[in-house]
């Protein structure tokens, strides 16, 4: 597979390590009264769709960015990828231009 790295372009998936569902970025509030249940759902339950899936890949052999990749699990077609830091918060980190 090729992952369209938002900064580096298409890179072989072998450079990446896969983690799983991008919902792992939404760590629950540890102080909530339902924290234990929330964490159980967060850590263990997955939608696991047959189709479009937002998922986390780590560019371990490359720039060490965590990416959120949108991929179809039936066809492996990749619909997009963004830096997790961009996905996690609205403001984009400014890169100096080359």
């Amino acid at each position: 597979m090729l992952i369209p790295h938002p900064l580096l372009g298409l890179r072989d998936a072998e450079e990446f390590v896969y983690l799983g569902d991008a919902s792992l970025m939404q760590r629950p509030d540890p102080d909530s009264p339902t924290a234990l249940t929330d964490f159980c759902d967060y850590v263990f339950l997955r939608d696991n769709p047959a189709g479009v899936h937002r998922e986390l890949w780590f560019h371990e052999q490359g720039d060490r960015s965590w990416l959120v990749v949108t991929r179809n699990t039936l066809t492996h077609e990749i619909l997009g990828a963004e830096l997790a830091t961009d996905a996690a918060r609205p403001t984009v980190t400014q890169e100096p231009s080359a």
């Binding site: 372009g9 052999q61 231009s97 080359a98």
Partner: protein, 184 residues
């Protein structure tokens, strides 16, 4: 100066060099390296006058070069400073940045040839990066025979491979093996 004899990453007191056909390979212990990262909202510095490159970029002056390694992170590479405290020198150039000594975290190998295409053919056997994109001005971090490497092309006749220092022997084995087969 400390009264101690440093060793190269290959375990020798002098750099090694091997030639197969029109490819010459050797290690470069004199190169220094330090990482530079920007703090939140900090302006981009101009260490040694270098205009820090964007993603996948490499810029060089006569003595110093900057390699993009990640969002808001670079490696600064310098000639003939391997045994000095290069991180301190970088820090002096970019006092607000986060600087970490990396000279001995990595080991550099230069592969030179009068025929740049020969380097391209060697690259085909080593990394899954289009050799056409490993050109002066670019830096690529990828894996090579299960090792993490940083590739730069100081000029068309030279490919530089940075690898984690502890992997130096295995990298050397992989590179000279491929070069030997190419020459066969």
């Amino acid at each position: 100066m400390p009264d101690l004899t440093p060793l190269t990453a290959l375990g020798h007191d002098q750099p090694q060099s091997v030639t197969y056909g029109n490819l010459t390979m050797g290690d470069c212990p004199d190169l220094a390296l330090a990482s530079l990262a920007l703090r939140r909202d900090a302006p981009v510095p101009l260490p040694f006058g270098l205009d820090l490159p964007g993603p996948g970029g490499y810029v060089a002056s006569a003595e110093v070069a900057a390699i993009w390694t990640g969002p808001r992170q670079w490696m600064i590479e310098a000639k003939a400073k391997g045994c000095t405290d290069f991180a301190a020198q970088v820090k002096a150039q970019a006092p607000d940045a986060i600087v970490t000594e990396q000279t001995d975290g990595w080991a550099a190998f230069d592969i030179t040839s009068p025929d740049g295409a020969a380097i391209g053919r060697l690259l085909e056997k080593l990394v899954n990066i289009d050799p056409g994109t490993v050109s002066p001005g670019t830096a690529s971090r990828t894996s090579l025979h299960h090792m993490n490497v940083l590739l730069v092309r100081p000029d068309p006749c030279c490919l530089r491979i940075w690898v984690g220092r502890s992997f130096a022997g295995s990298l050397w084995h992989a590179v000279i093996g491929a070069a030997g087969r190419q020459a066969a």
